[in-house]
Amino acid sequence: MISSVIQPEAQSGVAVRKFLGLIGKTLFIAFVLAFFTIPVLWLVMAPFDAHPQLAVKVPEFTLNNFVVLFTDSSALSSLGNSVVLALGTMVLVLVLGSLASYSLSRVRIPGREILLYSLLLLSSIITGTAAMVPTFLLMVRLQLIDSTLGVILVMGAGILPTVIFILKDFMDSTPKSFEESARLYGAKPLRILWDVVVPLARPGLATIAVWAVVQVWGNFLVPFILLRSPGKAPAAVVMYTFYTEGGQPDLALISAFSLVFSLPVIAMYFFVNRRYGFRFHGGIKS
């Protein structure tokens, strides 16, 4: 008797708690979702708004912002500069990174792991704020100020250790019998690297390539400090110059340019993923 009276109450208590928990969870997820979606929504909608503000609202549709943007010659040419910097750095780190990681993976040298880890730790300094003064002075001495090559070298140096670290892992995981097989038929080390190791590490190389491009594409500080003439500035730096005559940020231009600025990276991701795939493929019977 007693238990039958108590039980429904207890059950309803559990149900209420479950319901409240569900609401709490949903609210939390909605909040997190909004936190990430609202900036993206702004990025997609503000460029088409005649009077964009720092808020998400239904736009008064116009394409005028893009017309203004593309008549401003510096915007387009800066995108070109960004492409040159990003691809240049990508090629540099892919070539040097694969050579270095292959040798580090195959040749046993004492203290190899310590070397790799310390390189990885110290690398963040090169492109970081703290080392900007010495880096600047170094580039002045090398007469690489206001030079695209200078920016590529500094950016490359900054991300190479991470590249080597990641690629070495890929190289380590390719079975040695592939190389030994090629070696038996008379292939020399560079030939083996090109014919066998690089194709096998291709998913790794593709990952690195995308990552390197993204790093350079979004970097503001290094080109801002090392490049002097406005004609050489990449998009990330040029965006900083979009102000109205009143000294306010020109949201119409900035939003339109932001959208254009982010498209190549997204396009590249889909292209690389489709063409090379961020995945492994087999071929070893184990």
Binding site: P175, S177, F178, E180, S181, A182, R183, L184, Y185, G186, A187, R191, D195, V196, P199, L200, R202, H281, G282, G283, I284, K285, S286
Partner: protein, 378 residues
């Protein structure tokens, strides 16, 4: 085509571990040669040292008349098939087979024609455009063989060629491999830990243990006349019975019972000498009536082998295995007598070496098998 000769070859790893320890072996031109032994015996190290993938520490290697000890693997004119086949996953079957020729700077048309020709010969005709991942295990193995054949080597090295195939396919591949070797006539060395595979395929077998050669001989020789107890217990799908005993006149005393002295040991033993008596389960027979010169014991285990039965008989503190016909199935616990033929049994001394005329000769005896195996066939 060429012979392979090693002269006191040593491969020492950092830390002093010797993978190959002073090996003198001559592998004849055109021979199908097996390196057999348990894992870690140095057989793969020897193969890799011949290939040049490992640098020898001491000694010399000759391929034909050429001293290749210091040559790069690519200059030795060898082809090797790896245990995992090592087919390049990003190349088609055709490109894989033609790869050695590409390195040799053979023109594209010529090398593709050669690839097609070799593929056809190895029953890979319709698969040229496929990737290795799209092939079955047996097909992958044939592609690996085809790549080796296409490079036109004077020596083939095969590292555990059949170990990655499932049991049924393995028999098929074994026959295929033997026929291929006979047709090509190229000196072939293969590594295996499977004694049945070595017996089935090889012209001659080198049995290794801890980097040292234990015996070198034809399959018949190593099966019938193992040089020591290690070889005796390693060769044969059911290991040889090895039982401690002592010589007493013209018989051997085992657990207080006398069995006839093995023929090969007659005249080479002294009375009272401690020995190990060896008899293969296949060469022993079982009776339910008492016989002179037979070992009396109790049946303890019976295992069905399909066409035969493996019976374990307890004789004193020893367990002796006998293979009998499938129709003969003695009840567990019954008393039986094991008869051995003096002609088929062997005797080993206390160091495990076989006692016989000339049996103490160095194991690396390079003289062809003919003479000795004729004797054992008689």
């Amino acid at each position: 085509m060429a012979s392979i000769t090693t002269e006191s070859l040593v491969k020492e790893y950092p830390g002093g571990m010797r993978g190959v320890d002073g090996l003198d072996v001559k592998i004849n031109d055109g021979e199908f040669f097996a390196l057999l032994g348990p894992s870690g015996c140095g057989k793969t190290t020897l193969l890799r040292t011949i290939a040049g993938l490992e640098q020898s520490t001491e000694g010399k290697i000759f391929i034909g008349e050429r001293d290749v000890t210091m040559l790069e693997p690519g200059q030795r004119k060898i082809a090797m098939v790896f245990q995992d086949y090592a087919l390049f996953p990003h190349m088609s079957v055709e490109e894989n087979i033609a790869y050695p020729l590409k390195i040799q700077k053979v023109g594209k048309e010529v090398r593709l024609a050669r690839a097609a020709e070799v593929a056809e010969a190895l029953a890979l005709g319709g698969l040229l455009k496929r990737r290795p991942a799209q092939l079955s295990g047996g097909q992958q193995q044939r592609v690996a063989l085809a790549r080796a054949v296409a490079s036109n080597p004077s020596v083939f090295l095969l590292d555990e060629p059949l170990s990655n195939l499932d049991a049924r396919l393995r028999l098929e591949a074994r026959t295929f491999l033997k026929r291929l070797q006979q047709e090509l006539g190229v000196t072939t060395v293969f590594v295996t830990h499977d004694q049945a595979e070595a017996l089935a395929l090889a012209d001659r077998i080198a049995i290794m243990k801890a980097g040292k050669l234990q015996q070198l001989g034809s399959p018949r020789e190593v099966f019938q006349r193992p040089a020591n107890t290690f070889v005796a217990s390693f060769i044969g799908s059911t290991p040889m019975n090895l039982v401690d005993g002592s010589v007493h006149g013209s018989s051997v005393l085992i657990a207080g019972q006398a069995v006839p002295l093995p023929e090969s040991a007659v005249g080479h033993v002294t009375d009272g000498q401690k020995v190990t008596w060896g008899g293969r389960p296949e060469y022993l027979s079982l009776t339910t009536e008492a016989r002179s010169g037979a070992l009396q014991g109790t049946v303890t285990v019976a295992e069905n082998l399909g066409a035969a039965m493996l019976i374990a008989v307890e004789v004193g503190e020893h367990l002796i295995q006998v293979i009998v016909d499938e129709d003969v199935e003695p009840e567990l616990g019954t008393t039986v007598w094991i008869t051995s033929e003096p002609r088929r049994t062997l005797l080993f001394d206390e160091d495990g070496e076989r006692i016989a005329a000339g049996a103490v000769a160095p194991a690396g005896d390079a003289t062809p098998d003919a003479q000795e195996s004729m004797v054992s066939l008689a």
